[in-house]
Point group: C2
Chain length 242, copies 2
């Protein structure tokens, strides 16, 4: 009996996955673009001061001493923290990718242009949607976060981080694009390094910011499709100089 119940559960999961993919294809049906369905990661806790003493150690490839920000640390010895808020894991930059894949089962996608389909946008803040993106010989982390900066007014913040140093990150440009209901919103910027806290990027608002009503306009049946493209930054810089 238990076997049949489990089988039925597995079939239901498959149907749900198929339905999500169908939705993704319908929202972003550009031929050849890889669509990835991303389910939410509900953040268990937020520690707003975890970036306080972070700046000094970023160039050494070590994530900041987040949980113990009041203590004095030798930057060479300090272990780094998982970019996911709800995770207490600490480790060096080189093993962040394997930690995210193995522990959090975060998908890693190949390709210069992909579509990130975040499901269940109605879930209460704080919630994260995360994917890794392998492109141009590097791994990037896309973080979409629902957060209440102003109480009772949740907003969506989307940014791209390089799993690498800030110097390496300066070589790239990422683009996030929303396109629905005769509206289009594009954000282009240089990715930050995961060594800089994702929380500070979001609290500074230096990312794509959507209020709830705009997120609803861009959503289809509770899912938000974000087109992602990464390029080397030479083109972007040349255009910026124009």
């Amino acid at each position: 009996m238990l076997f049949f119940t489990q089988c039925f559960g597995a079939v239901l999961d498959l149907i749900h996955l198929r339905f999500q993919h169908y939705k993704a294809k319908r929202v972003f049906s550009a031929a050849g673009q890889l669509v990835c369905v991303v389910n939410p990661t509900h953040s268990l806790k937020y520690a707003p001061t975890r970036c306080a003493a972070a700046q000094a150690s970023t160039e050494q490839g070590i994530l900041p001493p987040c949980h113990h920000h009041e203590a004095v640390h030798d930057p060479q010895l300090v272990p780094c923290t998982c970019p996911l808020f709800s995770c207490p894991w600490e480790g060096h930059l080189e093993v962040v990718v394997s930690h995210l894949r193995q522990t959090h089962r975060i998908n890693i996608l190949q390709g210069a242009e992909i579509v990130f389909l975040a499901t269940d946008m109605h879930l209460p803040a704080p919630t994260d949607w995360i994917i890794m993106h392998s492109c141009l010989g590097h791994q990037f982390l896309l973080v979409l976060r629902k957060q209440e900066k102003y109480e009772g007014h949740p907003q969506f913040f989307a940014t791209m981080m390089l799993i690498g140093t800030p110097t390496q990150a300066d070589n790239f440009t990422y683009r996030l694009e929303l396109n629905r209901n005769q509206r289009r919103l594009k954000w282009e910027a240089t990715p930050r390094s995961v060594l800089e806290c994702v929380d500070s990027v979001i609290s500074d608002g230096d990312c794509l910011v959507l209020n709830t009503s705009l997120a609803q306009l861009f959503s289809d049946n509770g899912s938000l499709a974000i087109g992602i493209a990464i390029t080397t930054s030479k083109v972007h810089n040349a255009e910026a100089e124009m």
Copy 2:
């Protein structure tokens, strides 16, 4: 003596204007693009309920009965209100352009692509920056508003309105673009009609929204340059269908 003081004042004004144009050219130096310096209009008052009974009369070419929203009006007889909040003027759609030009001395610019340079972004909310844009046989109104939706947190809202009916507005697409400090933000949408209240567009957040820190990143010495382009909406619709 008074004559010399006035002359000196006029010379100072000319120098200031020249400096603003120089800043505009520096921020957006794309050859051939018309740069317009727009000084702020400080809004004297805000009436959040003025759009409450607005919807019924918009298709008749009549602006909503804003100041008297609790009374019952015949939509054919109701005079319309100036899109500027601080102005008590009322009149029909056909005379909005001449009112804005003559009473408020709002510039009207020709050309498919222009650059709107809003000065003195540091001024406290509520503040409006407004320009008219004549293009494709119609007049459009660009409104940039600094407003505190959440107390103590001013935001910037930019939208484009057609000085025409909602049906006419559906034929166009407008694009607003910010480009500075290796960041680029583009917003594309169908313009609203001035017969729909600009306040409701802004309170819904269905426009380009910038928080203060992002506005600072895109600003140069207190001025924000917004590239504006208007097209007929056929192209946009075709892309949206992709």
